[in-house]
């Protein structure tokens, strides 16, 4: 039983550590730290009312508006990177983007290349299927993901 007590102590110690100073979760690649007060590199893929890419000027639509507001909370400037979904997923995987939007659903096939946020709103497609809308983030950048989740879940997004 002594071993059990020691192991429980270890967990309590880790929990204690997190209480005093060390924020949990942390980003292995430090994304949240880099974008705060810096540049937020956002991949954009055109998708109906979610993301619209005009020939000139910044993207607009539901998701670019959300991202702009999110960037404000971090005091970050946005660098828009247009591309096809698979290019954006690949860029996320190689750490060349900080997030990507394009009206992605929670059943996106890009989960090997990118992490997804909690669904922040739901719509129904023309076949009556429910689509849970998410954004893509780099894999394992959990502090950044939690920051984005907290922001998105606090928004009221309706169509």
């Amino acid at each position: 039983m002594g071993r059990i007590r020691r192991a429980v102590l270890l967990v309590l110690l880790l929990l204690g550590l997190s209480g005093c100073g060390i924020a949990i979760p942390q980003d292995p690649e430090g994304t949240l730290e880099k974008v705060t007060g810096g540049t937020l590199r956002v991949g954009v893929s055109e998708n109906a009312e979610w993301v619209q890419l005009p020939p000139t000027g910044d993207p607009h639509g539901i998701e670019p508006a959300l991202v702009e507001e999110f960037a404000d909370t971090l005091d970050a400037t946005i660098e828009w990177v247009p591309g096809a979904e698979h290019e954006l997923a690949d860029d996320l995987f190689h750490g060349e983007l900080d997030m990507a939007i394009g009206g992605f659903g929670a059943d996106t096939p890009w989960t090997k290349e990118a992490g997804i946020t909690r669904p922040y709103t739901e719509t129904t497609d023309e076949r009556g299927k429910t689509v849970k809308h998410v954004m893509l983030v780099p894999l394992g950048e959990n502090a950044f993901l939690l920051e984005l989740d907290q922001f998105l879940l606090a928004q009221e997004v309706t169509l």
Binding site: I4, A7, V8, L10, V11, L14, L15, S18, I22, I24, P25, Q26, D27, P28, G115, I116, T117, R118, V137, P138, L139, G140, E141, N142, A143, L145, L146, L148, D149, Q150, L153, A154
Partner: protein
């Protein structure tokens, strides 16, 4: 259970259980149901917070596999109660061995699979992604829920294991023993998963895969240990005590009893474990043939059966000379064969 009470006495095939074993059997059945109840709650709880953690996945699969031993035990205790029949002259005790083998194979396969799965995650440097969850109006890190679930499910199996271990000894039940043994070690799995998730929280992406690997190895280890035991039982290894630590003393007891009889010159037995009860063949060389009456042989058999409840399926074979081909190690001196 109701079936047991109706008959008044619990039986293993044609063995009537002594009071102590009857009680132990009833308790063991009760505790296995409690185990199943706990496992149902814990697998649902862990599934709800599974997320992207490989360690959590491994712990969850271990929880799922933990259903097998209690179910095997409960099924086997029903099957072995049947009396031996024309088609099953030795009774149904081997059901225990079959149940044991099935659980062991499942453990080995899943352990092996998880080692490969977690190893790939480590080699390809998969960064587990765990985000927020919204509960009671606030959004916090899902990892905390995972750690909480693991800590909640770490304690109860240890208690279950300790209780069932005692019953396994009384009942001479190796499936129950294997189950209790796994339960007792279960807290380590839960803790490894919790540490893995906290590791992710600290930005150490590899902590999760390493924890998952540790859990997978422990599953494989359990599997191999049980596989050995189960195959040993099914291939008629000599009978050992409930935890396989030493040969069961019953063989020696029977030999020395038979040797003490005045009409017996030499006696040696071979003993195999049918599941709970033993199957014993005792070869006896009488001093003079005319003194080895049927009456004396029958009396000796009855006395042997009285030595222990596990002795029931026993035959005494009068022979002119101890048959070496049936009693390997005969030439060694002393009453105990090694």
């Amino acid at each position: 259970m109701s079936n047991l009470r109706e008959k008044g006495t619990a039986r293993f095939g044609h063995t009537e259980l002594p009071e102590k074993q009857q009680q132990a059997l009833r308790k063991a059945v009760k505790w296995e149901w409690i185990t199943l109840g706990f496992l149902t709650v814990s697998t649902v709880l862990v599934y709800l917070v599974l997320g992207n953690s490989q360690a959590m996945k491994a712990a969850w699969i271990e929880d799922l596999l933990s259903f097998l031993p209690p179910i095997s035990f409960l099924v086997a205790t029903r099957v072995i109660r049947r009396r031996p029949s024309e088609t099953h002259p030795y009774g149904y005790h081997r059901a225990v061995g079959v149940a044991h083998l099935v659980s062991a194979v499942a453990l080995v396969v899943m352990g092996g699979y998880l080692i490969v799965d977690s190893g790939i995650g480590l080699v390809t440097a998969e960064h587990p992604t765990i985000g927020g969850i919204q509960l009671f109006g606030s959004t916090f890190w899902l990892g905390w829920l995972m750690v909480l679930a693991m800590l909640l499910t770490a304690g109860p199996p240890v208690v279950l294991g300790i209780v069932k271990m005692k019953l396994a000894r009384t009942l001479h039940d190796k499936v129950l023993y294997a189950d209790a043994d796994m339960n007792k070690a279960d807290w380590m799995t839960a803790l490894a998963a919790a540490v893995g998730v906290l590791g992710i929280g600290l930005g150490l992406w590899w902590a999760d895969s390493v924890a998952a690997l540790l859990i997978s190895f422990s599953i494989l280890h359990d599997g191999v240990k049980n596989l050995r035991g189960a195959i040993g039982g099914l291939t008629d290894t000599r009978a050992t005590v409930y935890d396989d630590s030493k040969p069961d003393p019953i063989g020696t007891q029977i030999d020395s009893y038979l040797q003490s009889l005045s009409w017996v010159k030499e006696a040696r037995s071979r003993v195999r474990d049918e599941g709970h009860v033993f199957h014993i063949e005792s070869f006896v060389v009488p001093r003079q043939w005319r003194r080895a009456t049927l009456h004396k042989i029958e009396k000796a058999r009855a006395a042997c059966v009285d030595i222990d409840w596990k002795v029931q399926d026993m035959v005494i074979v009068p022979v002119a000379e101890l048959p070496e081909e049936f009693l390997p190690g005969l030439t060694k001196s002393g009453g105990e064969r090694s």
